[in-house]
Symmetry: C2
Subunit: 544 residues, 2 copies
């Protein structure tokens, strides 16, 4: 161990898990939220408070950088986490984002899970060009209305002004239908079920890393069917897959349901959505699945010959989840210490921090740490051994807590002699989350770690469910709705109001209908706004 | 079995593997090369012959569509394969390509292999925005010279003219360096080794599916190092990974080497390349790895403090492989019957075709076929059971041969009674490639199939090596070079000529220096052009 290393003054037993995240080491990662808004992301429009007045980027880069407490300023906290956990950075063009390796690894975990599910349910991946003739966008009336304010246009190619300007895809329904029209002839060609992983561009004015950026990554599924029933079944199947993904993998207890007419996708008959409650109790639309009916097939003449020889327009769906989900994970589970990742999607599930004081202890500790790493790795656990010599164990504890790694294993000289390790949970701070004397014997340790990872996963979900449920208020009048919303909560109440009633709620409270949840109580209801009989309850909330 | 099914007139033993690919079933997939060139891909500029005069797309769609023989018109054959094997289609914008599921699955196989290798060698995936300020492209002098004729520019965003036009990335060195400059401070931040899977746009005038399209998919690796030696080692390591991939996975015996100055990447000090010989003996540059020196780090001031506290510019590399590789696979292995896929990257390695005449035979045959499928699937073999009832076995044979599936298993009633199957190799036509009486017993069959897949893989490589080596001529004079090139071959000879000598060869023969191969004979040589002493041999060829 080099003499230059700052030695820990105490043994592993005494490292306080609450040590402040050291500053100097983070200098290069902490400037994300301190760029002038004009050259990067605008401050979120509805942030609860203005960011702290650390306007001087230079000062910040060289001074102590503690993450803003979540309770103090949620938006500043969010941006601090993204910077400090090295998830993303600003791109040079306003509103664009560079997804850094650690943030991208979370996206890769999302991709891996969904990709398998899509294939299991009969979808094939493929790739459509991102340049779409402008005329395509104009073919479906509500689609052009919805998307034209957000388009990026290519007008010059190879040094020449183009005859027809090209849209950089904001979504691909139009070009997909253009191709489907050529591939679909008979009912035998149906269903046609595809997906693509791609980048999309929407010229958003108010941006926020992961949540809303000029360019983002997503998957977009597109299917064509012979009957409306099949299309409806598909749209529902995909929102179910998203729901299960949210609950089981990301520990986000989304509420799945149907969008109101006003909030339905531009070009869809029905939009299904999963809505997640973030740590500041704002709603995040985390995934959508659209029953497109025949809107695009009529606009693009996508027809097939049915079994009776009749020409019919196909029935379609589309569905998407994007890098926005990464933002949802941060804002659901993160705390003042940093990111907190559900084990199933954590790029690193276990970090091993070896601890030694004397050079004579080093070999033994590192040998033990390495064999622990091998045992976990062999068992399929994503494990990292942080054996860097320039950093103290205390620094490492804080660094990996900031990165949200679910479990930490500490191994010191005493642990080596007793053939044991210390295991700490990220989700339970301090001593309460620490267990001593876990045997290093591979099968015992692997079993213990797997069990703990499952416990962390369930515990995060449980916590999020409790938080969600304690922040949804059942309301029966507009006054109750207003009160719930103004106290920062979600309001759930019977609704059969008109589009303009809905618009009024939005203008007066800032809340929108997030969805008519699939889970309804089933009783007879009276609309909170009109007093008429309402078939369903709707959920209202402020949202990202 | 439905009465409408055209029954095979003979048992499985007698289906001729050479049956013409039936036409009607392919109608919807065979229009790719028959679009007017103005609305799709231009005819390849240096195609050996003009496409057949089937100019009427309507006629083609409804008439018999046999694939153009490879020997008759290589370019027409290539486009026919892409259409008939459903690999790709034209996008609506000139020069763009839709990658269809089967073509995309080949790309996914490429991604899976390379992604693992990149991570094993210490690279992390991440994502950079595709919009690059125009000013960035201008910062590195030779880079702007190389790329400015090919740029697509976004000039309008959100309905407004942009102050600075944005380049849709043709490659990402500039934006990568802009970010690296912010992330790299000390030698401790190095090496920085990342990769991204992304789409890129180059406004090409002469396009050809997979080979050269306006937009294509690729991976681009970018690294920064503290020393020139490290950067050089990295650039070489990556071309080695590409080389091994080409040989071992795609059975393409590329020749790896260094590009001449004229052919070096715009902004690199050295470009390493892998060059593949296509079936028409033209060269395809299938992957490149660049030692960028300090060209971009000087342009973007990407500096680090070294161990002595001195500020230094980083040394960099970048390297890429694209969807072009799919075109290389088609043009290396395909034959008149269609695509021929090396087992390791084949989306389907084994297709099972069940055969029955009478309804009484159907259940037995399908039960056996299903259990064979399960056995192979469990063993990790990518297998498909084609039990569609609308098609005859003969049609299926031809269809899956067109798709290049390496092995076919036939199961008929007689096979069921004898508990055996018939196995046919795609790479050995007719009876010679057919083996009868392979036991259905899972462990025997799995072992047999695995062995055969390996044999096909080696056999494809062997054939390609023989083809390559019989078409490279060692030359010692310019006359010999001209003769080799005009006979369609590659010429390999000692070279120390100037850039203008090289330019002259290009103008007079159409051939360029593909590379100075790493494998040199090592003897003293005399330059074929100047008569001076030459240190190396170069390979000259016409290329895509």
């Amino acid at each position: 161990m080099g003499a230059s290393l700052r030695l820990p003054s105490l043994t592993s037993l005494l490292f306080p898990a609450t040590t402040r995240y050291p500053s100097s080491s983070l200098r290069r990662t902490c400037f994300l939220r301190n760029r002038p808004a004009s050259s990067g992301f605008a401050t979120a429009p509805s942030g609860t408070a203005s960011p702290e007045t650390k306007s001087d980027a230079e000062r910040l880069r060289s001074s102590d950088q503690a993450v803003t407490p979540r309770s103090k300023d949620f938006n500043a906290w969010y941006l601090d986490i993204i910077a400090s956990a090295e998830l993303a950075d600003y791109g040079p063009v306003r509103g664009t984002m560079v997804i850094r390796p650690y943030g991208y690894a979370i996206w890769e975990a999302i991709q891996e899970y969904l990709n398998v599910k899509f294939k299991e349910t009969g979808h094939s991946n493929m790739y459509f060009p991102q340049f779409i003739p402008y005329s395509f966008i104009e073919k479906e009336a509500s689609h052009v209305e919805g998307f034209s304010p957000e388009l990026a246009l290519v007008t010059v190619g190879g040094g020449k002004e183009l005859e027809e300007k090209l849209v950089v895809r904001p979504t691909s329904e139009t070009i997909v239908n253009h191709m489907f029209t050529q591939w679909i002839h008979s009912y035998r060609d149906l269903p046609l079920m595809i997906n693509q992983w791609a980048n999309v561009t929407r010229w958003e004015l108010r941006t926020k890393p992961f949540i809303r950026t000029l360019e983002f990554l997503w998957q977009e599924g597109h299917t064509a069917h012979a009957t409306p029933e099949e299309a409806e079944k598909e749209a529902k199947q995909m929102i179910d897959i998203y729901t299960r993904f949210a609950f089981e993998e990301t520990a986000i207890p989304v509420i799945a349901g149907r969008k109101s007419r006003l909030e339905t996708f531009a070009g869809a008959d029905i939009t299904y959505t999963i809505e997640a409650m973030m740590g500041d109790r704002k709603a995040l639309q985390a995934g959508t699945s659209h029953n497109l009916g025949q809107n695009f097939s009529r606009a693009f003449e996508t027809q097939f010959q049915d079994e009776n020889g009749e020409r019919q327009h196909v029935w379609q769906t589309s569905w998407a989840v994007s890098t926005r989900f990464v933002g949802g994970i941060i804002m659901t589970h993160g705390d003042d210490t940093g990111l907190m990742l559900p084990p199933k999607i954590a790029p690193i599930q276990v970090v091993i921090v070896p601890i030694w004081k004397k050079d004579t202890e080093k070999t033994g500790v590192l040998t033990a740490a390495t064999s622990v790493k091998e045992a976990l790795h062999t068992a399929g656990i994503r494990v990292k051994l942080d054996d860097a010599e320039q950093k103290t164990p205390g620094w490492k504890f804080n660094f990996w807590e900031m990165k949200g790694v679910p479990l930490r294993i500490e191994i010191g000289p005493r642990d080596v002699s007793s053939n044991c390790v210390v295991v700490s949970r990220r989700d339970i701070p301090g001593k309460a989350g620490k267990v001593f004397g876990i045997s290093m014997e591979p099968s015992t340790l692997v079993a213990y770690v797997k069990e703990k990872l499952e416990e962390v996963q369930s515990s995060l979900l449980e916590k999020a469910v409790t938080f969600r449920d304690s922040n949804i208020v059942d309301v029966n009048s507009y006054d109750e709705l207003k009160e719930a919303i103004s106290s920062g909560k979600w309001a759930r109440g019977p609704w059969c109001g008109s589009d303009s009633d809905e618009q009024r709620v939005k203008e007066e409270t800032g809340a929108t209908i997030r969805c008519f949840p699939f889970e309804q109580t089933g009783e007879a209801k009276t609309c909170l706004m009109t007093g008429n009989s309402a078939e369903e309850v709707a959920i209202f909330a402020k949202s990202y």
